[in-house]
Symmetry: C2
Subunit: 367 residues, 2 copies
């Protein structure tokens, strides 16, 4: 697997007329080496992968040496003592590297400057994100890992719903979901669970807070697991106390989102751009009079990162192609009232979307 | 507080002959605005703070609007629809900005390029990290927040130790610590807890795994909480079953680390460089014959980030000054055997280090 990926990366190095490629984005680094550590915090790095036509190194520091040696089967570990730039200077000088590619979205400006100032006679060439060009196509093992992550998360969520949400705080439910996800065998959550109740649901990325969920509240759950490195991403919108507790507006809003989602999953086809796919759902929501209240994209790719290529958005000209895995998650957000978001994950096949979700516990309000 | 900080930032804008400053690092963004969201994942942003001599905007997207409006008392929220660069182009054109500063360590190369390509006639000027120049000095409220975070974490750890560690897996203990930290009222852990037992302790950043801790195992715990945004950072090394279960080597290794730590805390004084401070502990460890086995720095600043300025390292010429808060954490790592790390947090005062830790539950092996 890793071996084949390294070959693909080397083809990319050749295509871009590079001598080598520096991979600093943690997901790409893992994808091409097997090295799993996250970067500690904003702006820190637990290592970089260096690939040339003949060499491959996982460059890291003393703190990660054992992990790197254990996890990297096809890549040699090389420990830097004076930092990444100095180590790269040694390697590129030895190997007479003239052009080294890097990922613009995986590189801090400060790292770039340090490397540029340290490496003499090496041109640094921004290369289109490896996420876009290679990681975007999932192989069978990756799709299996994503499905496992998704089904684990579905099971957890289903159980939490069965135990009831009324009378609990958003934060309580978020913690419960996170802990159950860990206990179910995931490495952890894929991202901090969102539990947004009542008016809080109008903000798509609300932090779970002390608000107590009451009967009749509309509550958005947006949760995901990380399993074998792969993320799942699910959104469900529930009424505390069940459908009969909902206010008059709920059926209209939920039904609209549901119709938008069903239509998008049925009609998205390979070859469409992200914009064309997004438009299928957006049109349904706009026709229902809620166009202004669907402020985010229809979906995004998922894999080693929660958000990665492809972008299924009104601003994306990227074609959607077989082998891509992405979310379909229309939403409607009404300030003061709250919101509804429904999110499924699909694999695009030559015949259209294949649903990866197994549990279809939705209210049926698509009318 | 925020008002005063904005004034300080404006002085910095003046000093650097800038018209404005763009603050994208999440900790700096919070420090100068009160806006608390983390960035979602590597390479994503939940917003940017724009400060000029007369204007201040928290620029973000629709997903974070309510949070921004609620949290930013002295900064106006401005929602971008076509992305940060386009919004900045409008603002800088309107305000005739010619020179805009940015934080090199808070800026992705891809963001920089997008902003540079979009803003006509605006020079982008790298400004020394705001973490180094302003955030490095903690005010009374910040020190109080750090102490609260630290004492919460100490209480949790103490209780986990009292309940016993023998027979549990590293991962079990790491989860227990994380959950107790949340239950004790923290926003969450400040960083993923490290529990490294037996030979795993030889790697300073080992991931907690399935290894079962047995009587006599030496176990490093490195844990921290996040409370009111502020991080705490504690390392303790315990022998499962207590001192009497330890092997012959333990007392020598632990005692050396302890002497190094005590000496450093007693002797670090304002005006020393990071290197000079580091050297106090390093000399003790080197004299004991373990110089090669102390592969990391003596310490680092802590605040809104787990690792921030100042750097207390052999490579740091930065002076340590009153008002700085940092860790003192010597360690010895022996491949095959394991490791010992002891970490305290101190505030530097004109008279030297003031210990912020309250619970001093160490073995006394300093001889």
């Amino acid at each position: 697997m890793i071996k084949k990926r390294i070959e693909l990366a080397r083809e990319l190095i050749l295509e871009n007329e590079l001598d080598a490629m520096l991979i600093t984005h943690p997901a790409s680094r893992r994808y091409f080496s097997g090295y799993s550590p996250d970067d500690g915090q904003w702006g820190e790095s637990s290592g970089a992968l260096y690939l040339s036509h003949t060499e491959s190194f996982l460059l890291t520091d003393f703190r990660y040496q054992q992990t790197a040696e254990r996890e990297c089967e096809y890549v040699a570990t090389r420990i830097y003592k004076r930092g990444l730039a100095a180590e790269l200077a040694d390697i590129t000088a030895m190997s007479r590297v003239k052009r080294m590619g890097f990922e613009p979205g995986g590189m801090l400006w400060s790292w770039y400057q340090a490397i540029k100032d340290t490496l003499e006679g090496v041109e640094l060439v921004p290369v289109k994100s490896l996420a876009d060009s290679l990681r975007v196509f999932k192989d069978a093992a990756e799709i299996k890992a994503i499905e496992q992550s998704l089904h684990l998360m579905e099971g957890v969520l289903d159980k939490v719903f069965a135990e009831g949400i009324t009378g609990k705080t958003e934060r309580e439910l978020a913690l419960k979901i996170a802990r159950r996800t860990e206990d179910a065998g995931a490495e952890g959550v894929g991202f901090a669970p969102i539990v947004a109740s009542g008016p809080n649901g109008a903000e798509p990325h609300a932090e779970p807070g002390p608000r107590v969920i009451e009967r009749g509240d509309v509550v958005i759950f947006d949760v995901g697991a990380k399993l074998h490195g792969y993320i799942s991403d699910i959104s469900r919108t529930m009424v505390a106390g069940g459908l009969e507790a909902a206010d008059g507006k709920f059926a209209e809003v939920y039904g609209t989102v549901q119709r938008a989602q069903n239509k998008a999953i049925a009609e998205i086809m390979p070859g469409m751009t992200g914009q064309e796919a997004d438009d299928i759902a957006r049109q349904v929501i706009t026709d229902a009079g809620f166009g202004e209240n669907f402020g985010h994209s229809l979906g995004h790719g998922v894999g080693l990162m929660t958000h990665e290529a492809p972008s299924v958005s009104p601003r994306s000209d990227d074609p959607l192609l077989p082998g891509m895995v992405f979310t379909v998650e229309p939403g409607i957000y009404l300030p003061g009232w709250g919101g509804v978001r429904l999110e499924q994950m699909v694999e695009l096949t030559p015949a259209g979307c294949r649903l990866l979700n197994k549990l279809d516990r939705f209210y049926d309000l698509s009318g």
